[in-house]
Amino acid sequence: QKEVEQDPGPLSVPEGAIVSLNCTYSNSAFQYFMWYRQYSRKGPELLMYTYSSGNKEDGRFTAQVDKSSKYISLFIRDSQPSDSATYLCAMSGYSGFGNEKLTFGTGTRLTIIP
């Protein structure tokens, strides 16, 4: 069993819809949870990170973490064609000293249809 599971999609939704992307994980030591966006032929770009359980909002994006269920989500409101990309979840423990090894999901390919 992989430490991090993510539905690879592809996922296609109409412009303006709310998108929900999800990951599950098995390692209870994970404390930091990140979402990266990767456009075609580009490197991953950090969207947001969340510590422990709870919600974090940044513009049209909301990240949710439920540590009791080992489940994280990214919601995109009012989705735009420019949101079309692959979204990668990533997570790590926390040593406090840097060199935080990230464990990634496989990524979900999202297409927003105009």
Binding site: R41, K42, G43, E45, A90, K101, T106
Partner: protein
């Protein structure tokens, strides 16, 4: 954040040869990382490169196959040696910055095809 460049952006190589990938960062960083991204698979950490010390390799990756140099705080190279078609992948470098948490930022990647 960080501005990271990689060279080459892509290459097609013959089996048995070696390719060196360069990673340049716009400011000094302690930690640099090298990842591999294969189609349909997770980003996989190859090794961590700390300036002034030997790189630390993850399970399944060895120095003879993926030698790494880290001559200063803004530059690193990864060499893919004695290549086979199974080495065809995207190779990415990343750097770590402490901005709240230890956030990682990625370069654009090097797309390698081995024939």
């Amino acid at each position: 954040s960080a501005v990271i460049s990689q060279k080459p952006s892509r290459d097609i190589c013959q089996r048995g040869t070696s390719l060196t990938i360069q990673c340049q960062v716009d400011s000094q960083v302690t930690m640099m990382f090298w990842y591999r991204q294969q189609p349909g698979q997770s980003l996989t950490l190859i090794a961590t490169a700390n300036q002034g010390s030997e790189a630390t390799y993850e399970s399944g990756f060895v120095i003879d196959k993926f030698p790494i140099s880290r001559p200063n705080l803004t530059f690193s190279t990864l060499t893919v040696s004695n290549m086979s078609p199974e080495d065809s992948s995207i190779y990415l470098c990343s750097v770590e910055r402490q901005e709240g948490y230890y956030e990682q930022y990625f370069g654009p990647g090097t797309r390698l095809t081995v024939t």
